[in-house]
Symmetry: C2
Subunit: 467 residues, 2 copies
Amino acid sequence: MSPDFARLLSELRDRLPADTLLTDPGALAAHARDAAPFSTAGLPAVVVLPRTAAQVEEVMRTAYGCGVPVVPQGARTGLAGGANAVDGCVVLATTRMDRIGTIDPVNRLVRCEPGVITKRLNDAVAAHGLTYPPDPASWETCTIGGNIATGAGGICCVKYGVTADYVLGLDVVLPDGRRMRTGRDTAKGVAGYDLTRLFVGSEGTLGVIVGATLALRPARSAALALLAQFPSLTAAGHAVAAITGGGYAPSAVELLDRATSQAVAEFGHPLLRPDSAATLIVESDAPDPAPDLAAMKKLCEDAGAHQVVAAGTADESQKIIEARRLVSPALTAFAATLGGRPTAFIEDVAVPPSELPTFVGTIEEIARRHRLRIFTLGHAGDGNLHPTVVFDESDPDEVQRAGTAYDDIMAAGLALGGTTTGEHGIGTLKRAWLGRELDAVSHALHREIKRLFDPRNLLNPGKVVEA
Amino acid sequence: MSPDFARLLSELRDRLPADTLLTDPGALAAHARDAAPFSTAGLPAVVVLPRTAAQVEEVMRTAYGCGVPVVPQGARTGLAGGANAVDGCVVLATTRMDRIGTIDPVNRLVRCEPGVITKRLNDAVAAHGLTYPPDPASWETCTIGGNIATGAGGICCVKYGVTADYVLGLDVVLPDGRRMRTGRDTAKGVAGYDLTRLFVGSEGTLGVIVGATLALRPARSAALALLAQFPSLTAAGHAVAAITGGGYAPSAVELLDRATSQAVAEFGHPLLRPDSAATLIVESDAPDPAPDLAAMKKLCEDAGAHQVVAAGTADESQKIIEARRLVSPALTAFAATLGGRPTAFIEDVAVPPSELPTFVGTIEEIARRHRLRIFTLGHAGDGNLHPTVVFDESDPDEVQRAGTAYDDIMAAGLALGGTTTGEHGIGTLKRAWLGRELDAVSHALHREIKRLFDPRNLLNPGKVVEA
């Protein structure tokens, strides 16, 4: 059946309030892609901004009936092209569905709609002495629905787990418009198959999330941070292994490689030595963090750190954390020196933490081989690194080398027992790589599951797997 | 296609070592059912005890080719009939696949085969200063494969989570004999759909688990326990709410209702008052548990406890924990006084913790209405209760009332926003109830997923959902 766009628009206009439909070229262009550079994207035929789950059902039923693809979107902060439009599709943005339900401190849960901004949810639950831990970099602007669809991670995952660990239940609209509920409002439950987890991280390819029940935790204590710099990657790796192997539960273990440490030092951070092979930023939010921090400081020193600074106050911690926050502006400043059209590829490979030193070393070698600047930073505590290739997009040869380096990094991660994506997702960007990461039977089963949920391949087609 | 048993046996004998096949009537009868009373079970045609994943593939391919159903079994400690044989099936028991792979303290993981006994795994990882937390009641005899298949829980889940939270990846043989791997060896990862979680808790209906990568944690500190008794259910509920709402992280919050408290007191436990409406046993394994325990003791007193004993030493803790351990012998002693053929139905309903007092009160009312003795104990911290109906199986009227009470308890749990099974599973026992717990779309999707994985309905047929 070929898509019937004229019927689609006419039916959507009949069934939905006028202000939920956008067809002006500016709006269509604005909703064409998420934050992943160099990913394929088309132009939507219409952008729909429903306010209720019933309106989402209408959209799905209508598009299904007309044979028109639907691409769900949150805040479009994704980094894998998972929310990129396909030509002539309906973009279904859930940003206006942003109600937060009753916050329940005794059962430690909250129900909310998909368009709620992660920071807003956290502010709301903080008023009840609670927290929703997942903290992806975009947490001030991204939506809960997008977080769930990508299975978002963040910095404090090393202690508190990822988005998936906080999703107790979901309300979902299937490609044909039927609505269903997964999961439950209880901490434990094993009735039936775990469909909640099947939807989490499925990047909008199996259903549209229209509501979620999320688990909460008691508010976190004020944290203290530690900055440790090392003359070698191996020494930094030993420090990470000693901390996790020693039974400590740091709330952050962030790594900056040599290039990133240097960039941040040159950008003006007062505490960073520019000549370090690796910098670790470690944070403890234990009720009394000082003894934990002192013990972890000692482990860094024993591992061979040539500079260690442990904060004694919140202000000192802020100064240390600032080093992590300065990575982005420091890389932007570096990029400006490149000339041409500077841009960046951000990677998302995770390896077993024991392989971190080898992996970072391999990335440095890949950078040399391809004559590129690659800045590696990431969540060392769970082995999830974000090597970032900064290059000049106006130089075709450099673009080609950057692309090859991007692939080489994924291949190296897989060879070390890792995964091509720790928290950003497959989207359009890594679809070919999914076939290398999964075995053939699993990959075939992925396609069969996609076909079961979406037999006409109309929901977010071309993402994660081919139908 | 009708099953070809003669061909099946002949082919299995050709393809597998003789000592992996059992056909003597004693062995067949011994493998007919798990530990769920009153659940339907058939008699297997053959019991296969493979030693390798390749042998499991052979079994599955052969049975698939002959159209004969296969029922996977671990230690048969399940309580829902999920491992019960069907007439003429192959029972595939993975108990001889019991190798533990390298224990990896830096990445905090271990690979093991499905037949490893949970306690043995824990002893092995303890030698490396690590622990595998899930602690179902049968942990000294049950298998990891069975734990994964049922999504087993336990006492320390309230702090450490359930089996599902520790499964990073699985090796699985599909109904037609194809082997695949799910998940990964990294803490984080979002490549593709979460098939690991789809297999966890699927009760052997989608595939046979032949290997697992499990996450581990640093060894737990020695715990201290607290016993608190209350004159009313509401008071006990307030204490639980104050503990969880106060941000404490107890490693156990166990509840004994009035009947159970009385039975254990009468059985001779020196600390229990027999006249309490509810008893709580709370444990802290914080590095320094004493201040935590003192604070939780105060919360119990403030909530109106009429007796509180906090342990100061490991020995005193043992005495308190003993009250929980005596429940089973105390109920057996009570059952012996019933005459006839005393037996017990154990329930597994979970409700939001705030609903616990109402739920326990409703159970007491159900007991009165049906003139039955129901003993409720369970994991109050996560709302998961095990009301146990003790009755005389030789009295048809009592059997009928026990069955009705069992159903009434599930209906009450669902009405309070709960689930019919917190950790035991659906099996054969609660299959009809799954249709009441799930909405119609979700239930239909369950059947479609079963059909996708097992189009001929040959793997553990009749469990969880009808094909």
